[in-house]
């Protein structure tokens, strides 16, 4: 009997230690990132980062995205719903995290398109056609061109612009920031510096809505 008690207590203690350590780790991380969002905001938003939404918006959604990532594509419509539902209150910042094979080429296309003011159009086209230019999570960049052409984007201008060495620097900067912020999977989402953890649509809605309530008290009424 005594042995069973020893075993039972050990098992419960181990599981309890796991749960406590997990919650400590998560609070610690959220605190660290919250602090960083205030003191070191540039880790979240760089000058080169595409931003959508009203300048006065108080809720910042930072998304580390990989154009070849399926969940990012699926999440993009979901994100847009929030921007529509709360006009002027939400800003969306895109950061590049090309984790898939060959994704950096697609990011280069996006940066080049941004120079011509076509970033969001290009991103939408790429997300919508993702299945056509990826195979087994690998990017086949040659398949992107006809798709962009059909969408009415200036392919020759993008092709000419995407080899600018400045773009490599931008990608390196974003990947370095992703590492600092512990982004290992895409989409890596932060709302006013708070990481989305655990990942999920419902969790994301709760996080955004809690930030909206905190920054716009009139919404709670």
């Amino acid at each position: 009997m005594n042995r069973k008690i020893v075993f039972g207590i050990s098992a419960v203690a181990l599981v309890a230690a796991f749960i406590i350590a997990s919650s400590l780790y998560k609070t610690q991380r959220a605190k660290k990132l919250g602090f960083m969002a205030q003191e070191n905001a540039s880790t979240f938003v760089r000058d080169h980062s595409p931003i959508r939404g009203d300048d006065a918006a108080k809720v910042y959604i930072v998304e580390f995205t990989d154009p070849a990532c399926e969940t990012c594509a699926a999440f993009s419509d979901f994100l847009k719903q929030f921007m529509v539902a709360y006009p002027g209150k939400i800003k969306l910042v895109i950061r590049y995290a090309p984790f898939h094979h060959g994704s950096s080429d697609v990011v280069k296309i996006l940066v080049a398109a941004k120079k011509h003011g076509k970033f969001w159009e290009t991103l939408d086209v790429l997300y919508a056609s993702q299945a056509q230019w990826t195979e087994h999570h690998q990017v086949i960049v040659d398949r992107v061109w006809p798709i962009l052409e059909r969408a009415g984007l200036d392919v020759s201008a993008i092709r000419a612009g995407m080899n600018d060495p400045e773009i490599n620097r931008i990608i390196e900067q974003d990947l370095a920031d992703a590492q600092v912020l512990d982004v290992r999977k895409t989409p890596g989402l932060f709302v006013n510096g708070k990481p989305l953890d655990p990942f999920g649509a419902r969790e994301f809605r709760e996080l955004v809505e809690s930030e909206l309530r905190a920054n716009y008290p009139e919404l709670t009424r």
Binding site: V6, F7, L14, K185
Partner: protein
Amino acid sequence: MRTPPTAERDWNLLFACWLVAAASALGSLFFSEVMGFAPCVLCWYQRIALFPLVLILPMGLFPFDAKAAKFALPLTMAGLLTALYHNLLYAGLIPRSIQPCAQGVSCTEKYIEFFGFISIPLLSLLAMAATTALLTIVIRRSH
């Protein structure tokens, strides 16, 4: 009923082995599920050897059956060999070109280094060595 002292000691050893296995399994889940480190191929092979121990060993604890050590030993030995290989790879003593993990997470990716030398593969090696040693003692003594 009093159990003979040797059986008492062997139970303790098998229990200690389970403690090491359970703590390692939870630690490994902490790295992957809480901290978000993706396990590489070699890590997965070691996990395959480690996770069953957590469930198999208690079967030998209640009621005590030293044979459980015999059944668990092949797992810990396989894990020990994989961990040894992983550590050599990690330390750069085996050239990268022959490593089996070309896709996905690199097996030499450095996630943590406590005190500058305690890496995840080293933790695995220690756990595999400890469980193998404990099980070997139990098997030796039960003969």
